[in-house]
């Protein structure tokens, strides 16, 4: 990277003055950090920053997505307000990161709406319920076992396959945009391995030495957020695995649902659902305690709504399971099924436009960081 003036803007802000102001402010702060470097030991952002003297817009996008908002560099900084340097690195990087997700989202307008507005997320959720309820009532199959008694397997596939694949396609477009913006070179397997390794333990949220982050306890370190996040992440992955295994069993081995308690899909799904439920609940509690100004306050509502949506997905799934095992009337089950599947539907469709997208961009940022580390350790 040349140390000359920053390369011309790669980004099309399309008159987004707010976004440009955030970028300029982030650059100002990062240049101060680059002259100081006290926080080098906390995370990958600081070593990445020291590889250059001037920061292009793409560099800023990359640094912002590498930041995991551990807040260590805020509480340790001798230049936070009221000092005239007025540093709040986690806050400004959160703003830039948020802008990058909105900008890269496809279509971008959806990104702007759902990232910001908890109400929009709630509306999507209600729409999801209503749709499922309508479906269940109008397409009630003649016969079928378990939940398929309410909605046939084929109908479920017809709804959820596109609801799963379309957001993935949208995400792929977004990630491509991201990769071009940060100037990524062709991806190799080892870069992805490095990214997954970091994400697996949330290395950038461990404070650099395993003491954790400064999210909810001010200048004291704590691993609570890291653990809550990983419970959520692994819970989600277990649930996802349960569905995948069930799909395989259905098509490959001709073993359709319902499955018994000690079947693989149920074991995975139950443990995943519990983890997800506890993880998201804890995340929401911690989020209520953390200082909002050290994140991006304008999306606090959208983020919180998303965590709660995920909580609702897991909780409704668990309740549904419990209810279907008992002698509760089919009426209740059909309602619960609509609630659960409706929330799952909303969750899937919102993935590219909600906080859920962060996981994908983070992985991209970590993979890009692995590339850059290779080129210039």
């Amino acid at each position: 990277m040349s140390s000359d003036a920053a390369t011309p803007s790669l980004l099309q802000f399309a008159g987004d003055a707010e976004g440009e102001a955030a970028l300029a402010e982030a650059r100002r702060q990062i240049e101060i950090c680059n002259a100081c470097r006290y926080c080098e030991g906390f995370c990958a952002v600081f070593p990445a920053m020291t590889r250059q003297k001037a920061f292009s817009d793409g560099d800023m996008t990359q640094l912002a997505n590498l930041c995991h908002n551990c807040r260590g560099c805020y509480y340790s900084c001798q230049y936070t307000a009221p000092h005239e340097f007025d540093l709040n690195v986690p806050g400004i990087l959160a703003e830039v990161r948020q802008d990058s997700w909105s900008r890269c989202a496809w279509p971008a307008a959806l990104g702007r709406v759902f990232h910001r507005h908890g109400v929009a997320v709630a509306a999507a959720l209600v729409t999801g319920f209503a749709f499922l309820l309508l479906l269940i009532q109008s397409l009630r199959p003649e016969a079928g076992q378990g939940f398929y008694a309410f909605l046939s397997h084929n109908a479920m596939v017809a709804v959820f396959l596109p609801a799963f694949l379309l957001p993935l396609a949208a995400l792929a477009v977004g990630l491509r945009r991201y990769w071009r913006e940060v100037g990524g070179s062709p991806l190799r397997g080892r870069h992805l391995v490095a990214a997954f390794k970091d994400a697996a333990v949330l290395r950038n949220l461990d404070g650099g030495q395993g003491q954790g982050c400064n999210f909810e306890k001010g200048d004291r370190y704590s691993n609570e957020r890291r653990f809550a996040h990983q419970a959520t992440l692994y819970g989600f992955l277990l649930c996802f695995a349960a569905t995948s295994v069930a799909t395989l069993m259905h098509y490959l081995f001709d073993m359709p649902a319902p499955y018994g308690l000690f079947s693989l899909p149920k074991l995975l799904g139950l443990s995943g659902g519990l983890l997800l439920c506890l993880g998201t609940l804890r995340l929401a509690m911690l989020k209520a305690r953390g200082e909002r100004d050290l994140g991006a306050p304008r999306v606090w509502g959208g983020e919180m709504a998303f965590v709660l949506l995920l909580f609702f997905v897991s909780l409704s799934g668990l309740v549904l399971y419990a209810a279907s095992g008992t002698a509760i009337g089919t009426g209740a089950v059909s309602w619960l099924l609509a609630l659960h599947l409706g929330s799952v539907l909303a969750f899937f469709l919102l993935t590219p436009y909600s906080k859920m997208a962060h996981g994908f961009y983070r992985l991209a940022a970590l993979a890009r960081e692995a590339q850059q580390r290779e080129a210039k350790p």
Binding site: S3, D4, A5, E31, I32, N34, A35, C36, R37, Y38, C39, E40, G41, F42, P47, T50, K53, G72, C73, Y75, S76, C77, Q78, Y79, T80, A81, P82, H83, E84, F85, G208, Q209, Q211, D219, R220
Partner: protein, 466 residues
């Protein structure tokens, strides 16, 4: 409200100041069972005095210790100190501090301080200095949390204006808090309120009127109020009252509190001119870590206490980035204009300098002997012509780090008055650093003094009371 609960108690140990030394004393005393009150003059976001701006701790070690590699023995450490102080140190006290530093590091870790390998660009210190994860403010935070957990009471914006003495005994402090002046009583006191470098009037009286143009690198709260009060009451002083440690820093830095980020490391690769566009000293005399301190004085001696370091494109990546981007232009005249320097004079200086440069091998990280010929003052290393645009310029001003005047103490950190040692007054940190650091500075040694004497003061004060 806060005030009432302070005056109702007679505290075992009152600690005046809220930086590293104060916290080490408070924690040590509290662990011995004393009731401890910290009176910090700064508001909470600025707590910690100059410790907020520190980054490492110079530590003796006879084998690998925590993040420190190899060994750094007492003798080498002491010789390093002798070099910078030119012998202005108390050998007994200095050696004691050096020896004690080895036990301090594990103590610091046990009380919440986290260390990390030396930062990028500071490889030369990886054997001698242990760096704090997150810097000095992280250390200060850790100590405040530890102190809080031990039941130490810390009050902010509590400026001690007078230390009450009766027959060589400390009785109380007068402290300004929330618009009132309160009398807070204690059985022992530890004075750890720093030097006087933030009192510009005092600095100007001591150094001369040009000191008004100096920048203060550290906290604006070290105004020497407690130091002056004690000296006025007859405490013995130590250290040259007219001297301060000043380095050349970015002239655009804030008046106070600019800290580490305002340093400028480009001088060896530059020519440095004054307001009139004239060079005045050999920029390439030695590697920068050995020269940055003298440049504070050199710049202080120039008109308006300002100077300008000028480099060309060849050198821009050879030093640590600066806190503000440099002034940049395609021509020397253009640069002169932007910096507010006389263009013809600067052009002449640069041309004269360029003519004096010789062919040779340039080596940025060692003394390369690439010297000028036939220009005065000469540049004895790294002399390359300024001929590749764009050109860059940095305004330099003297930045004061600390002052040397302090309270005389003995090896138990007890303060000395007219009639021998006071019965129950101890001092630690910058307020007594002049006992061991009479001149110059050794990176990370301020934290060593603060930690060693802070712990001793806390222990002695608690032992005295309990």
């Amino acid at each position: 409200m806060v005030g009432r609960s302070l005056v109702e108690t007679t505290w075992d140990v009152v600690v005046v100041g809220g930086g590293n030394a104060a916290l080490c004393a408070a924690i040590t005393a509290a662990e011995k069972g004393a009731s401890v009150l910290i009176l910090e003059g700064a508001p909470k976001p600025y707590r910690g005095g100059n410790s907020r701006h520190t980054r490492n701790f110079r530590c003796m070690h006879r084998g690998p210790l925590s993040v420190l590699t190899d060994t750094y023995e007492e003798e080498e450490y002491f010789q390093d100190l002798l070099v910078v102080t030119k012998g202005k140190t108390d050998e007994g006290l200095a050696r004691m501090a050096i020896r004690e530093s080895e036990a301090c590091l594990p103590w610091m870790e046990a009380h919440g301080v986290r260390f990390q390998p030396s930062l990028s660009g500071t490889l030369s210190l990886s054997r001698t200095n242990a760096f704090f994860l997150g810097g000095g403010k992280a250390l200060v935070n850790a100590y405040y949390n530890t102190a809080e957990d031990l039941g130490v009471r810390a009050v902010y914006e509590a400026q001690v204006v007078h230390v009450g003495l009766e027959d060589g005994r400390f009785t109380h402090v007068e402290v300004e808090l929330g618009g009132e002046t309160l009398r807070v009583e204690g059985k022992a006191v530890v004075l750890a309120a720093g030097g006087f470098q933030a009192d510009i009037d005092w600095l100007a009286r001591a150094w001369g009127p040009s000191a008004r143009n100096f920048l203060i690198r550290g906290t604006p709260y070290n105004r020497g109020v407690v130091l002056k009060d004690l000296l006025d009451q007859g405490a013995e002083s130590i250290g040259d009252p007219t001297q301060c440690h000043a380095v050349a820093i970015d002239g655009r830095a804030p008046k106070y509190d600019g800290g580490i980020a305002t340093r400028i490391d480009c001088v060896p690769f530059s020519i440095v001119v004054n307001r009139d566009g004239q060079r005045f000293y050999d920029e390439g005399e030695d590697v920068w870590p050995k020269r940055y301190a003298i440049w504070g004085r050199l710049v202080a001696a120039q008109p308006d206490q300002m100077a300008y370091a000028i480099i060309d494109h060849k050198s821009i990546d050879l030093f640590m980035p600066t806190v503000f981007p440099p002034v940049k232009a395609e021509t020397i005249e253009g640069l002169a204009q932007r910096l507010g320097l006389p263009a013809p004079a600067l052009k002449e200086t640069v041309e004269g300098f360029n003519r004096a440069c010789r062919e040779g091998t340039f080596h940025p990280t060692e003394l390369d002997g690439l010297a000028t010929e036939g220009v005065s003052p000469e540049k004895t290393n790294w002399a390359r012509p300024l001929d590749t645009p764009p050109y860059y310029g940095y305004l330099l001003r003297p930045g004061v780090t600390f002052t040397y005047l302090g309270l005389k103490v003995d090896e138990t950190a007890r303060v000395t008055g007219q009639n021998g040692r006071y019965a129950n007054i101890w001092a630690a940190g910058e307020i007594m650093a002049g006992n061991v650091l009479g001149e110059g500075y050794l990176a990370g040694f301020g934290m060593t003094i603060g930690t060693v004497f802070g712990r001793i003061a806390g222990r002695e004060a608690a032992d005295h009371v309990l």
